[in-house]
Amino acid sequence: MAGGTNKKSFINVQNRYGWFFVSIAIVLLGVFLLYPIFHSLYLSTTSSKGIVQKFVGITNYTRLFKDQMFLIALKNTFIFFIIQVPIMLLLGLVLASILNNKSVKFRGVFRTAIFLPAVTSLVAYTVLFKMMFGLDGFINTMLLNLHIIREPIPWLLDPFWAKVTVIIALTWRWTGYNMVFYLSGMQNIPDDLYEAAEIDGANKIQQFFYITIPMLKPIIVFTSIMSTIGTLQLFDEPMNLSQGGVTGSTTGPGNSLLTLSVYIYNLCFKFMPNFGYAATVSYVIVFIVAMLAIVQFKLAGDKK
């Protein structure tokens, strides 16, 4: 370094400043991102009772396959994912294409109304749903008065109906959010495509399937990945809807609302605090999300 020419030392000075500016970001990234990732990976190889920790290697991972509670959580999470995400995305797509039609009156009002649930607090709306879906709640009273049902539906008291309630709640909360993505995507589809299709004699439904959906593909992939991640991390709704037992500790009737995230919470805070095992479960979520994202990219044929 000492015997360099002027040009070289100028580069050195430049490099020095470059490294200095970059180092701040690297240190922050290291402390707040890389360190937690690797530390939690280490944690997942330990079993703990609070601060009493012992190294167990991959035992935590093999234990997962025998842990019925984990398997229930995994099953529940996938039921929510497989049923709720397609319903929500399809509904969002249909609503978006209706509201994109320029001949619909009060489009702004409808758009706002459908998007509005997305800005409400997760806990607030869940508590509201819990009240509405009570045995004597608004929904049952209404259905009874309309003579649609004879007996009140045990929304939050029966394993099946509890899941239905969560799916209804999730759909209400997130459809508008996804619709906005589709709407903005549709605004970028040139009108001439539809005009040309009309001249060729394609009806509205054909236009929807052969123009709108292919043109929206990148956005559909994006929303489905976001929804996948969101559903796999589902926490607030099952947690709040199921604070059922007065003194009990199941998550929903017969653990029907136990999701992976709720299980992680239980492992840390409700049960004997085993942060090591909880870290193992969280790595499972990371693994599944990564796998599903890859599958979705492959299905969508995105070469990038």
Binding site: W19, I51, G134, G245, T250
Partner: protein, 438 residues
């Protein structure tokens, strides 16, 4: 170039370490500063608890009493929801950061062993600092680890069978018919009540294990044996309790509820005729003033098993002092003076809040023999303190909530008949074993 990079990184590292060590130094200095003058009883203690109508209100009363003699002591009582409190305590204790922790914390009895064993050294050893022999035996046992006692016992969850005397009389049952009954008899009464008055007997959470714990403790058995081994599949007491659950549901004498609010609304609204739970519910029952004089309390029904008694427990909690507390001595003195010494205090919280303490000397106090007009002149608290002494002592162990979860994930199959009780308990045991890795 590499040298430079190394230099920069070292500088950053030194900086961040300096920042860290600075933080940890601060409490250390103030700690030594405070402990120099404990004799004067000054300083500030912070207390965490839940339930503004019960624990918080009672703590406020204790604070007022203590400050009368120790005006220099500042006491801050923080009201945190129970779930949030547990979460905060876990994260603080696990991270080892003591700065954010209170000096005194309320912990539920079912969780006590879990905290004491998970965070060794975090709670102050109060052996010989508090006279534990003045407290109910079973409460002290729950806070003992390896011969050391770590807390000051607070309220008991002694249970009772609260009932609407008007509904039950209509169904043809007098107070003396309800003494020391079995759960089978309870169900029979429930059917009669339903038939004669159209009211349901109980507000009942189908996934709530509270009542099952009441049934179990009355037999002196638990989900685990004395050594802490899982005991579900071959536990006759548990099977009897599960059968009682199924019978109660099958008899159609319940109003299904989900959560605390619906449950309380069921009896406050007059929809149900009875409540079987801990004495801490008294305040919520009395909250409905229009039902004054209509309620009475009978001993808890028992399972039809040898050794089962008509007394049980649900919940209850105790006070713990944090080992790293800056004003540990003041905190211990506070608990000692009020919770382990002030007889009057216990009389007052009994009358005001219906809190039945586990402090034995207080139970001879005047308030315990009060006739409560809300309960038609019955001396409810003297009854409760009689039953309290019969509660079988149990070691809840570390995994009560895990066991509860395992059992209630098979209960829907028990209710529907898809699984026999034997098969269901076998499945639950398998599940629990794998979950806690035993």
């Amino acid at each position: 170039m590499k040298k430079l990079l190394a230099l920069v990184l070292v500088v950053m590292l030194v900086f961040s370490m300096a920042a860290c060590s600075k933080k940890t130094e601060e409490p250390a200095t103030s700690e030594s500063g405070a402990s120099e003058q404990p004799a004067e009883k000054s300083g500030k203690i912070t207390i965490w608890a839940w339930d503004p109508n019960f624990n918080i209100a009672i703590m406020n009363e204790a604070k007022a009493r203590y400050q009368k003699d120790n005006p220099k002591v500042e006491i801050e009582i923080v009201d945190i929801a129970k779930g949030d409190l547990e979460q905060k305590l876990h994260t603080n204790l696990a991270s080892g950061v003591t700065e954010g922790l209170p000096d005194i914390v309320l912990i539920e009895d079912y969780n006590a062993q879990k905290y004491l064993q998970s965070y060794p050294g975090s709670f102050a050893d109060l052996t010989n600092k508090v006279k534990h022999s003045d407290f109910l035996n079973y409460k002290v046992g729950l806070m003992t680890v390896a011969g050391k006692v770590y807390g000051v016992p607070f309220d008991t969850g002694a249970s009772g069978f609260y009932y609407r005397s008007d509904y039950l009389e209509q169904a043809g049952y007098k107070a003396e018919d309800l003494n020391n009954i079995t759960w089978d008899k309870f169900i029979e009464i429930g059917k009669a009540v339903k038939e004669k008055t159209g009211k349901k007997m109980l507000g009942f959470g189908l996934d709530d294990g509270g009542l099952m714990r009441v049934m179990l403790q009355s037999t002196g058995k638990w989900y685990f044996d004395e050594q802490g081994n899982i005991n579900l599949a071959n536990n006759d007491a548990l099977k009897a309790a599960v059968k009682a659950y199924k019978d109660i549901v099958d008899a159609g004498i319940i109003k299904p509820t989900s959560g605390w609010n619906e449950w309380v609304a069921a009896f406050n609204g007059g929809d149900t005729a009875a409540v079987v739970t801990g004495v801490w519910i008294t305040g919520s029952i009395k909250a409905e003033a229009s039902q004054s004089g209509l309620w009475k309390v009978a001993p808890t029904p028992r399972l039809d098993l040898a050794g089962a008694v008509n007394a049980s427990n649900l919940g209850g909690s105790s006070w713990y002092v944090l080992e790293k507390s800056k004003n540990k001595e003041v905190a211990i003195d506070f608990l000692n003076k009020i919770y382990a010494g002030d007889n009057d205090f216990y009389q007052k919280i009994l009358i005001d809040r219906g809190a039945v303490g586990s402090y034995i000397p207080a139970q001879n106090g005047a308030s315990y023999s009060n006739e409560d007009t809300f309960f038609g002149g019955q001396k409810v608290y003297s009854d409760f303190s009689t039953w309290m002494k019969q509660i079988p002592s149990i070691n809840y162990g570390l995994y009560t909530y895990e066991a509860d979860t395992a059992i209630f994930s098979v209960m829907p199959d028990v209710y529907s008949g898809a699984l026999t009780i034997d098969a269901a308990m076998k499945k639950a045991e398998e599940q629990l074993k794998n979950q806690i890795g035993q």
